[in-house]
């Protein structure tokens, strides 16, 4: 009995079947259905029939100005809020906190992580209240006699990017704190003996040693940021006009407000494609040796 169930034995696959079945039903099934819908003209309302239309949805996407705008804004949002914002700020916080005293570390940690554990929608409303024209930020600026702003209207993509930085920095900070703690003390000491100062030491010693953590963190962050919906929806609804309409918001608008479920799903698949491109780049980063 035990030999038949062993790895490579005739029944070696048996213990795996429940898991595989679950994956097929709950993961592969919906994904397959999703791919199918993307090639149909399914609508939420207005027609009861659904026909197979081949690549029409994809052709429509590539000739759609609003789709191109959404791709562009998605890239802007991802680069600003994830790659530049969360990543660098998380690294800076992690590096600074190593030198800070324990109480400072604790307090900072609590605040940064609090922003991260808040439910997305709560964070979104907080930041909406902070950025809006009658909001907290303008109250503070007014009190300091500085010019006020109306970012949710004039630069909405920047406002939601900042919001995302505020919300997601904790994650990077935690990853980098862990990575920095892994660096052996003697390497740092040796570098000090050779006369490397703070920044140079960071650049030449620390960064290469935590390269893999950086790539992993970038990958997780990017994929998460590419699919941010609730935050943007609650703050700006992709507006005004379509100045903060990233792909997930565009998808929602097409599928549920304009009722083109098929088209919206096709756009979702294209978003998946963009995510996989990013992932491919990061995976290369992780693989290459110094």
């Amino acid at each position: 009995m035990s030999s038949t169930l062993r790895r490579g034995g005739p029944l070696g696959w048996l213990p795996l079947t429940p898991a595989v079945l679950l994956l097929l039903v709950f993961l592969a099934g919906p994904i397959g259905y999703c791919v199918y819908i993307a090639f149909t003209n399914m609508q939420l309302t207005g027609t009861s029939s659904t026909d197979f239309v081949g690549l029409a949805n994809f052709r429509r996407a590539f000739s759609d100005v609003n789709f191109r705008n959404a791709v562009w804004l998605t890239l802007v949002f991802t680069v600003i809020s994830s790659i530049l914002g969360q990543n660098s700020l998380g690294m800076a916080l992690a590096a600074l906190m190593r030198r800070a005293s324990k109480p400072v570390r604790t307090v900072t940690g609590i605040f940064v992580i609090a922003a991260w554990v808040l439910p997305e929608i709560v964070a979104a409303f907080l930041l909406y209240a902070f950025f809006r024209r009658e909001g907290t930020l303008n109250a503070i600026l007014g009190w300091l006699h500085l010019p006020t702003q109306n970012w949710l209207y004039t630069l909405p993509i920047l406002a939601v990017s900042f919001a995302n930085v505020w919300r997601g920095t904790a994650f990077s900070m935690l990853i980098y704190s862990a990575a920095l703690n892994e660096i052996p003390q003697d390497v740092t000491e040796a570098a000090e003996m050779d006369g490397a100062t703070g920044l140079r030491r960071f650049w030449h010693i620390t960064l290469p040693m935590i390269r893999r953590s950086i790539a992993t963190n970038l990958m997780l962050n990017t994929l998460q940021t590419l699919s941010v919906f609730g935050l943007i929806w609650a703050m700006t609804r992709g507006g005004p006009g379509n100045r903060s309409e990233t792909l997930p918001v565009f998808m929602y608008d097409q599928a549920f407000l304009k009722s083109f479920i098929g088209y919206g799903t096709a756009v979702a698949l294209l978003l998946l494609l963009i995510s996989s491109l990013f992932s491919a780049v990061y995976l290369r980063l992780i693989k290459t040796e110094v």
Binding site: P30, G46, F125, N150, F229, G230, G239, S259
Partner: protein
């Protein structure tokens, strides 16, 4: 679990902030003794007009039908999210309500999707149906000649203006503009003489949804000439019309000259609630192009009781573009009670509709909901006639009113209009460019059924 579920969850989470989504898909859809009613709850937590009315009818119904239960499913959301939500619910027998409150704006689209059941067999045996005025009987009549809902009122639209601000600006208390130009002139005068107030509100953009398209855009468009949106004779949608560009130009002018609210406020999905409960009662807004129901929030039963409103607020009919015949214009819509085709309790749901439409309840709702009556026995009722000072005026607008094209594709056309309005409001596009974008979106939505009137 459909692949769109995460999206739906995200959307649901965004619109239901306080977890007020009760019993959605709780599987009670098959309980033969419970009638489940889906309706829209206002996003303002002070406004519970519909909720209170339905609660009393629920009590009556449960007393009259021992053993039967009514389950209310309030959906607290803005208009767009509400439509999406009920469509999602009606797609599956597990979640379909037994009774749904449908906007006539959407009803033809939902009928075509097979979401709703025809109710002709019930109507034929119901004496109450004879009380409905002919236009109301066709409100939920589809192209197949069957009827899919019972309307519970209608509405008209016109100009509301604040007499106190008008007095400060030296404008007459019995103001009745004869053309668009006179509206803009009045707004410019107010901007000059009463700084700090908002001269004119025209709903616009994607956020307010159909409110912007109907109260804002179509009130302008239908004053520019015959069949400006859809040519019923040729059965074609109109592209490149001059009236369309002129209407966009009006909106563009309002925001370019800063005669309207701040753009960011105007494009906010909840601007309607703000107008009703803040800007008008606080005398911040001078002229508001809005609906006949506005006063319902100011009644003692409403969300913002405001006893002085009947003295402070005046009403004027919306003029046509240059005063051309018939001189005034209005748009009418309304809501119906419909039975989803996937409901398993159609008989009980119909009983509930009858309960909602007893003469007493019909009057109660028409008054509380600030509706324009669609039944002759309600229109004659003294309680209705004295319900609010605006009733007689807004009922008089019915003679020059227009209905939206009752076609399944209308919601998509409406969405395209919202986009066009938003782009001229923000100044992202000129009226010409926005009209051209609309024509392209129209092609996507309706295919070849287009006639060019450039």
């Amino acid at each position: 679990m459909r692949p769109t579920a995460p999206l739906i969850l995200a959307a649901a989470a965004t619109v239901i902030a306080a977890g007020s989504l009760t019993a959605c898909g709780s599987g009670s859809g098959s309980d033969p003794d419970t009638v489940r009613i889906a309706y829209q709850r206002s996003t303002s937590n002070k406004v519970r007009i519909m909720d209170n009315y339905l609660a009393t009818v629920k009590k009556d119904f449960e007393k009259a039908n021992p053993g039967k239960k009514v389950k209310l499913l309030p959906i607290q959301a803005d208009e767009n999210a509400y439509y999406t939500k009920i469509q999602q619910m009606m797609r599956s027998p597990k979640t379909a309500p037994d009774l749904v409150y449908e906007d006539t704006f959407l009803i033809n689209s939902d009928i075509k999707s097979g979401y709703l059941a025809p109710i002709d067999k019930y109507l034929d045996a119901w004496p109450g149906w004879d009380h409905f005025v002919p236009t109301a009987k066709t409100a939920a009549k589809a192209q197949d000649g069957k009827t899919y809902g019972v309307p519970d009122g209608t509405d008209t639209r016109g100009l509301w203006f604040n007499k106190e601000i008008f007095k400060k600006a030296g404008l007459p208390e019995n103001w009745q503009p004869k053309s668009w130009a006179e509206i803009l002139d009045a707004a410019r005068t107010i901007k000059k003489k009463v700084p700090g107030s908002i001269p004119l509100n025209v709903y616009t953009g994607k956020g307010p949804g159909e409110a912007a398209v109907m109260q804002g855009f179509e009130m302008l468009l239908y004053g520019t000439g015959a069949d400006p949106l859809y040519d019923a004779k040729q059965r074609k949608w109109v592209a490149g019309g001059k009236g369309f560009k002129d209407s966009l130009d009006f909106v563009h002018t309002v925001f370019k000259e800063r005669l309207g609210p701040e753009q960011s406020d105007a494009l906010d999905p909840n601007v309607g609630t703000q107008v009703q409960t803040e800007w008008l009662p606080d005398s911040k807004l001078a002229i508001d192009l809005d609906g006949s129901w506005l006063g319902n929030q100011w009644l003692p039963t409403g969300g913002k009781p405001w006893p002085a409103w009947s003295k402070v607020m005046g009403q004027a009919a919306m003029p046509t573009q240059n005063g051309q015949a018939p001189g005034t214009v209005s748009m009418s819509g309304g809501w119906t009670w419909s039975i989803p085709s996937k409901s398993r309790n159609t008989d009980l749901a119909w009983k509930m509709i009858q309960q909602l439409q007893t003469q007493k309840n019909a009057v109660k709702w028409t008054v509380q909901g600030a509706q324009i009556a669609v039944r002759d026995d309600v229109a004659k009722d003294p309680e209705y006639l004295k319900s609010s000072p605006g009733v007689t005026f807004f009922t008089s607008l019915v003679k020059n009113t227009h209905y939206r094209p009752a076609l399944p594709v209308y919601p998509q056309v409406s969405s395209a209009i919202g986009d066009a309005m938003e782009s001229v409001t923000t100044g992202d596009a000129s009226p010409e460019a926005a009209a051209k974008t609309y024509d392209d979106q129209l092609k996507t939505a309706v295919g070849d059924a287009i006639v060019s009137k450039g």
